[in-house]
């Protein structure tokens, strides 16, 4: 149809176009022939291969789930294991009459409406034809026996063995490792379809969640040929799954056990850190729960009981509980005073048992204040203020410092943020500032707010992990090691984006030693007469064989009215004070730093300090004892 005329008589432009268009059309024909050749190859040359694949046999791709990585404690004890569990599954394509099959299963082993509903839910989520869907999980030996007898008569029904997560230490490690849960509707949308094909569980909290991508492993698959009834006739090829990485944590199971037992039935938390690495040696939150309950699906009543319990056992107090730090922050405040030059070690006050701001009626009381006016600590310098935990000294100091400087220095110790590398669930507490108060409360900062901060009351909130971390930094004389659970097995923690605070270099050596020696006196200063001993000496210092630096703290739960005394017996259990004790040991070469919190436990020195002592004793002396015994 192209006129020769067009060719003959043309400007260069349309000649070029003609050349190009013809060339293009020629190429177009060539490429089309390439497509025809491709289809010829597939449809004629390879026809019998594909016809076999498609028609006579069903080729199935079966996923082979990887084994989840194991988790060990620092001594190689298993914390998270995989054990076989038997599930009853149905492959819907092979079932002639689903109703009848389900009825038969019900007759054999019992099947509740909820279980049937769950089965239909999972059936809808199925990704490929000929994928088996579980009806019942974790069959007992007896159930397996009963079903097995009838299996031949129920096409499409099978017993499948799968490895599932098991936590051999049960409740002990629940809050330290977290747990996996069965994948639910919400997870399906979030998770990679391929990576999780064949995997029923996903790490939901704690270490199991944070290191999920390393623990999971890589899915394998095999291509199998089946007959028309779906029975596997031949495995064509397979790629084996790659197991997830095994992880080793810093946690010491025996220390964890001692810490847990030391708390006993009391509600509370303990976090112990190795100051040289930041590794978390123990993380206890009581009460706990058995993580194994969640693995294969927890029944609703048990879950509701855990969820609604007034003791909130599912709540990880060690990293999520936010409490007033009480007097535990006094050493830090003293350090801030010395470094900023607001006070020197010789600075003293006269403590009448109470403190007042100028032009303010309100009395800020010392802890030994009485209505009769006999309280107070007399003449107090910084050292005494720490080992006697003198409130009035720190009221004065806090007011002299002002909130801005307090905020600046406390921030260096990790308050108000989460510094843990692999615990994204940890809360950041609250480090108040002027800006924060204007924003959150809509009020300006009042001098009275600063007074309260002086003894760790008021708006400031910390988690046990944060206090343990701050004590670790003190033990290290300002060198920062970010807290972490993982010892080896993964690099994910370095990708978590947590910024490790800078080492605190501006504190001179003698200031560290003054503060630390004052903390040492809290435990070791004894036999000095009434009102002169360290606050914790009577409870833990009399027979101690190593050097310990510590500080007690007691956090008010309810405000005591002006003019009234705190009377334990009058208060409801849940309104009693929280007991704190922070410590590290040995003083010269610290090997362990910790924070102990006992909810509504009463006085820190009396109740929390002995718990701390037991944990430290075990860590520092147990090895020696064993050594001595073996000799």
């Amino acid at each position: 149809m192209v006129e020769p005329l067009v060719l003959k008589d043309h400007t260069s432009e349309s000649r070029i176009y003609f050349e190009r268009a013809s060339l293009g059309f020629g190429l177009l024909i060539l490429l089309t022939l390439l497509l025809v050749a491709r289809f010829f190859y597939l449809q004629i040359v390879q026809h019998s291969v594909y016809a076999t694949l498609s028609d006579r046999n069903r080729i199935q791709v079966q996923s082979l789930p990887p084994n989840r990585g194991l988790i060990y404690d620092r001594n190689g004890e298993l914390i998270a294991d995989n054990i076989p569990s038997h599930n009853l599954t149905i492959t819907i394509e092979r079932v002639a009459d689903l109703e009848a099959t389900l009825a038969r299963i019900d007759e054999l082993v019992g099947l509740s409406d909820a279980q049937i509903e769950g089965f239909h839910k999972r059936l809808r989520r199925r990704q490929r034809p000929f994928e088996s869907v579980p009806v019942l999980f974790k069959l007992s030996q007896e159930e397996m026996a009963r079903v097995s007898v009838d299996l031949y008569a129920m096409a499409g029904v099978e017993i499948e063995a799968k490895l599932v997560r098991h936590y051999p230490k049960g409740e002990l490690m629940a809050h330290a490792v977290g747990s996996v849960r069965r994948i639910n509707e919400k997870d399906v949308r979030r998770l990679d379809r391929v990576a999780y094909s064949g995997t029923d569980h996903v790490g939901k909290i704690g270490i199991e969640r944070f290191y999920e991508s390393d623990l999971l492993g890589t899915v394998g698959y095999r291509r199998v040929e089946t007959n028309a009834r779906g029975k596997v006739m031949k495995v064509l090829d397979s790629t084996l799954p790659v197991s997830g990485k095994d992880l080793v944590l810093y946690v010491d199971s025996s220390l964890q056990r001692v810490a847990s037992d030391a708390l006993g039935e009391r509600r509370g938390a303990i976090v112990a850190i190795d100051p040289s690495t930041g590794g978390i040696l123990a993380m206890v939150s009581k009460p706990g729960y058995d993580p194994n309950l969640f693995v294969t699906g927890i029944d609703f009543d048990t879950y509701a009981k855990l969820r609604d319990s007034i003791d909130v056992p599912l709540f990880n107090r060690a990293i999520q509980g936010q409490y007033e730090p009480g007097s535990t922050i006094k050493p830090l405040l003293g350090l801030t005073g010395l470094v900023t030059g607001v006070i020197d070690p010789e600075f003293t006050i006269e403590d009448p048992g109470w403190f007042q701001l100028p032009n303010d009626e309100r009395l800020y009381r010392d802890w030994n204040w009485t209505k009769s006016g006999l309280g107070g600590h007399g003449v107090v310098n910084l050292q005494k203020a720490i080992y006697r935990s003198c409130n009035v000294y720190f009221y004065n100091l806090a007011v002299k410092l002002g909130i801005d400087r307090i905020h600046e220095y406390f921030e260096m110790f990790g308050f108000g943020r989460n510094t843990a590398l692999d615990l994204p669930e940890a809360r950041s507490g609250l480090l108040p500032s002027k800006a924060w108060k204007r924003e959150a409360r809509g009020f300006p900062w009042y001098p009275g707010d600063t007074v309260n901060i002086g003894i760790g009351q008021g708006d400031m909130l910390v988690t046990p992990l944060q206090l343990a971390t701050a004590i670790t930094v003190i033990a290290n004389r300002g060198k920062w090691v970010a807290p972490r659970m993982l010892k080896e097995g993964s690099d994910l923690m370095y990708e978590s984006g947590v910024v490790v605070p800078q080492d605190i270099n501006l504190v001179p050596e003698h200031v560290w030693e003054l503060i630390i020696s004052s903390m040492q006196m809290v435990v070791h200063r004894g036999n000095q007469g009434f009102g002169e001993n360290g606050t914790a000496w009577a409870y833990i210092g009399r027979d101690i064989s190593y050097s310990m630096a510590g500080k007690s703290g007691t956090a008010q739960v309810v405000e005591i009215k002006q003019g009234e005394e705190y009377d334990e017996d009058k208060l409801d259990d849940r309104l009693r004070k929280h007991a704190w004790f922070v410590a590290f040991a040995p003083v010269d070469k610290p090997r362990i730093a910790l924070a102990v919190l006992i909810e509504n436990g009463g006085g820190g020195s009396k109740f929390a300090a002995p718990v701390a002592r037991q944990v430290l004793d075990h860590y520092l002396l147990h090895g020696e004892q064993q050594l001595a015994e073996s000799e």
Binding site: V6, I16, Y17, A21, F39, Q43, L53, D55
Partner: protein, 379 residues
């Protein structure tokens, strides 16, 4: 313009002898329409099978084809001079719309492609660009000396790159590649010297390894899957394995209409949209596929002839580019389904279920018809 006119003069000697036929009067090209009708009908039949013989989707698709035909007829009535005049404005508008999409578009499956005009419609501005990019380049070269000089080629590449990069950022790599291709086609048809083409090819080959690292993870996966579908038989490889099985098992004459097991047992994914040719290949075999390809060739042949008969640079380049871009769709889709090319979301023109691509294609053919039937004719 005047130079252009002079250069066109020899041509008009032939054209003066032309008489206006019925097609010219109603501004339609009947051969083109006939082939389009055949392909659409064939497509509806395959779709009917792909949707398990439910009439609903087929009627819906027929309605979409009808609407697209009306749009085509309307666009054929408008003079190419009008398209020439509005081309730059359309381009500016299109870029603004892409910008708005980037800012306010809503996300579907992790990419921002859609723009919603509140109370009215939602649409993909990138779809408009499929026609506007060839238009702006044809407009640009219309007044210029051809073959283009380096400076003009550079400007043309800038004009292609702006929308292409904006669409790639959505991200919609498939569409960006198609539009980029259509822009480069204009350059090729305008007579860009071969040494430039060769230079670009060499640069492309050399920089290909670097480009690999620019690709997103899933895009790398697709290419690796193409090279070896067996490496990921549960994920992306599944589609390719199943579509190849469907095609291969069809054989010479197929399993018979509505008899395909691959598609009807749900082994074949996307069987109504991107992978529909596998349904055709399974049920009607190689013969059915070749029939479709022949119809496509006829359609594109007619398009090329029209472009050769066009009277000015704008019409020539625009009609030629639309035709060759059409082939790019055909080749990319069929190549992908048969395992020659990586999996990119490109529908099979006039056969795959869906209205957007049909509308763009028919609008393009409307412009081709306009170019062909508005030639200067003296009775």
């Amino acid at each position: 313009m005047s130079q252009d006119f002079v250069r066109r003069l020899p041509d008009s000697g032939y054209l003066l002898q032309r008489k206006a036929g019925l097609g010219d009067k109603v501004h339609l090209d009947f051969p083109l329409m006939f082939v389009m009708l055949c392909i659409s009908g064939y497509g509806l039949l395959i779709l009917f099978s792909a949707v398990d013989q439910q009439p609903g989707p087929v009627i819906a698709q027929a309605v979409k084809l009808g609407i697209a035909t009306i749009v085509m007829i309307i666009m054929a009535q408008i003079s190419p001079i009008f398209y020439l005049r509005i081309a730059p404005w359309l381009f500016v508008l299109g870029v603004i719309l892409l910008g708005l999409t980037y800012l306010f578009g809503f996300e579907v499956n992790g990419s921002k492609r859609w723009l919603r005009i509140p109370g009215l419609v939602s649409f993909q501005p990138s779809e408009i660009m499929k026609l506007v990019v060839p238009m702006i380049l044809a407009w640009y070269f219309h007044d210029r000396h051809l073959p283009p000089r380096a400076k003009h080629i550079l400007w043309a590449i800038v004009m292609i790159s702006i929308p292409v990069l904006m669409i790639a950022a959505q991200p919609d790599l498939g569409t960006a590649l198609i539009i980029g291709t259509s822009g480069l086609l204009v350059l090729l048809l305008a007579g860009i010297p071969w040494r430039f083409v060769l230079g670009a090819l060499v640069t492309g080959l050399v920089s290909a390894p670097a480009l690999w690292f620019v690709l997103r993870d899933y895009q790398q996966q697709r290419i690796l899957t193409l090279l070896n579908p067996e490496r990921d038989p549960l994920g992306a490889g599944w589609n390719i394995i199943q579509s190849k099985t469907a095609i291969g098992s069809g054989g010479l004459s197929g399993k018979g209409l509505f008899q395909g097991t691959q598609s009807h047992l749900d082994f074949l994914p996307e069987s109504q949209t991107d992978f529909i040719i596998a349904v055709l290949a399974e049920e009607l075999g190689l013969i059915g596929v070749v029939i479709l390809l022949i119809m496509y060739i006829l359609l594109m042949g007619r398009g090329v002839i029209i472009s050769l008969q066009a009277q000015d640079t704008f019409g020539r380049l625009l009609s030629g580019t639309i035709t060759f871009t059409f082939f790019a769709y055909v080749f990319v889709n069929i190549g992908m389904v048969s395992g020659l090319l990586p999996v990119v979301g490109v529908p099979l023109p006039m056969v795959s279920y869906g209205g957007t691509s049909v509308l763009t294609l028919f609008a393009g053919f409307g412009m081709i018809m306009s170019i062909h039937t508005h030639r200067k004719i003296i009775l």
